[in-house]
Symmetry: C2
Subunit: 383 residues, 2 copies
């Protein structure tokens, strides 16, 4: 199930002759993308610190009345660093240190908006169903140590940072939440958003720890454009993607943690479909590597108890409103994906395809209002 | 842009070594499918009449309290037969004859539910913007010649037939509509449904001819399960797919007509994403071949006037609720795709993934009700 091969794209590149690769690429990935030149210093840092780095450019048409709105987006995927048996402080510090190394490379690549994987300062321990020590990783999204460090980074590198963490909401009964903190390039917290859809599948026992977001579908206005964050399992819900589009997002990040056979064939489909359907950019980021826990747990799949969650297959990628996408990062290795995009493409694709114009939201507002009634009777035609 | 290579899958098969093909296949296509044995008589007929025929099986788990609900679904893609300069009667008769040849093969394969491409008894003439002679292809969906012939076929072969046509609605002002007629295996018309989303892109000038459906998202109860039809451009609208799911569809057909560079990289994504998001089977059917018209037309793309619509790239496929999919039919050739599926998979995937349970329709009903108001103010957070 796991790890050996590095990426689908590397297999295609290795075996498909150049002429046919063009056909394959056009149908499977859309318009071919120009490579973004990665600065030598960033390449060197990546080699030294053992992470992948790759860059692409999504181009838009030029317009007369609007200047291009160029933004460089960075996506980081990474393994945990310290073993899960280390103290909470040690585990978190090791991740803080690691992410700062990769942020430095992102800064060298002139990234404007950077996003990490879901609950990045901790292992994805929700498979265990143990409340401690894992709940101790939860932090205040405004004053916690991770936010403080990321505020420092954001200011230092003039970069918007999206930092997905496990939140402790001290004001509202000390509950936990799966949260993304959006930090401006000024170093200030613009706001937070929470995971709208919580899984109950396989080892994703997150509903044991926190509830669905009560914060709706927020948009964050940054210096470089309007962004939103559809955390992990919201990827499977087209309605969640839709509301971010309706609310005006131009880039929607999908910080995730997903493993193995159950989801790997869905991964290239869902965030990309959302980019197409909503005429915005999507950025799908997955953890990478295998996380092993101190105590064994079962998975509701009749198999014997075990201590690891399976292989997080990385493969982070970015998709554009025109349906084209970047290759994925490695399935096995830490990585930084840097993409330069012109946000003008969003409105251009809307003008071309007209998906928003033809969307008939009034129809769906009234259909849904009916459908949620207990006595709803679907229009079923019989002979 | 067009035609030469036959399918993505044939290129992969030719070049990727067996061991790596397994990895590629799992990630790009999901669980590997068993081939369905096509009867010799059907193979012979296909060879004689020059169409492709291929078959696959989607298997579900066995349950204690429910017997498997096996159904064989057929999808037919075809070129037009007579030139567009022939009379309306000649063009339609030639297509009637051709489709009956392929239906015979479907019957030999014991297909239970069969669907054709969008407005199958005519060329896709909407690119021309000429009202005549093309409007003459419109028929009454209850009493027209195409429905009569398909009723005969349905009864003869004990087969549900979904027949997408250009409709003339004589009762309501003689308007045209893009319609699918659902004919029971008893030969009776169960009902009709219409295209909910009409394109305004490239040469898809359909909004010149007919309006959006006023019939909502109907479901048809057949002997073999509940089906729905999301015609062509509804493929790009996740809300349309969603309502068919909410209303109980187990298989949603997507009879289409789509060409070239604009959409070919979206084709493998959208119907498959819908199968995943809604835990039902989807069946995406595209025209095949190039249709040339008598008078030249322009495409709003600054290019000189021309007489053909571009290459309809076929590639019809079926996707399952678990995200697996069949290979596509040829990009260049008429074809019949036969798939045996166990409809029990729909509820099983719902039980496993829980997308419906976690869908939060109440949230989206209220969010949409707000969003459609003229004075809606999206929740945008600024520094």
């Amino acid at each position: 199930m796991s790890g050996q091969f590095d990426s689908i794209e590397s297999i295609l590149e290795k075996h498909i002759p150049k002429e046919e690769r063009k056909d394959i690429w056009r149908v499977l990935y859309g318009k071919e993308l120009r490579n973004l030149k990665i600065p030598d210093k960033a390449e060197t840092l990546a080699a030294e610190k053992n992470f992948e780095i790759s860059g692409y450019v999504f181009e838009a048409q030029t317009e007369e009345l609007r200047a291009p709105r160029i933004v460089r987006v960075g996506a980081i995927q990474n393994q945990i660093v310290a073993p899960t048996t280390a103290t909470v402080s040690e585990q978190r510090s090791a991740l803080h240190k690691r992410i700062c190394e990769i942020i430095e490379a992102a800064a060298l690549c002139k990234v404007n908006i950077l996003c990490f994987q879901e609950t990045w300062p901790m292992p994805f321990a929700f498979c265990t169903r143990e409340k401690y020590p894992w709940s101790e990783f939860a932090e205040c999204p405004y004053t916690g140590p991770t936010t403080s460090l990321m505020q420092e980074m954001a200011l230092k590198y003039n970069m918007v940072i999206i930092s997905p963490i496990l939140e402790r909401d001290e004001v509202h009964g000390n509950i936990l939440a799966n949260t993304a903190v959006v930090i401006s390039n000024s170093g200030k917290v613009i706001g937070i958003t929470r995971k709208n859809h919580i899984p109950r599948v396989g080892d994703f026992n997150e509903s044991t720890y926190y509830m669905e977001s009560n914060l709706g579908h927020r948009i964050f206005q940054t210096q470089w454009g309007k962004i939103a964050i559809n955390i992990c399992y919201g990827r499977h819900h087209p309605q969640s993607w839709m509301m971010y589009g309706i609310n005006g997002a131009e880039i929607v990040f999908n910080p995730s943690a997903t493993v193995g056979n159950l989801s790997e064939h869905l991964w290239p489909i869902e965030a990309r479909n959302a980019a197409i359907a909503n005429s915005y950019f999507t950025c799908a980021i997955n953890r990478v590597g295998t996380e092993t826990f101190p105590h064994e747990f079962t998975s509701g799949d009749k198999k014997p108890a075990h201590k690891n969650f399976g292989h997080f297959y990385g493969s982070s990628y970015i998709a554009a409103p025109d349906g084209s996408r970047t290759p994925g990062l490695s399935r096995n290795k830490d990585g930084l994906l840097v993409v330069e995009m012109d946000l003008n493409m969003c409105r251009q694709v809307k003008d071309t395809w007209g998906f928003r114009m033809t969307q008939r939201l009034e129809l769906y507002a009234s259909s849904l209002a009916e459908a949620i009634k207990e006595d709803y009777s679907p229009p079923v035609f019989k002979e």
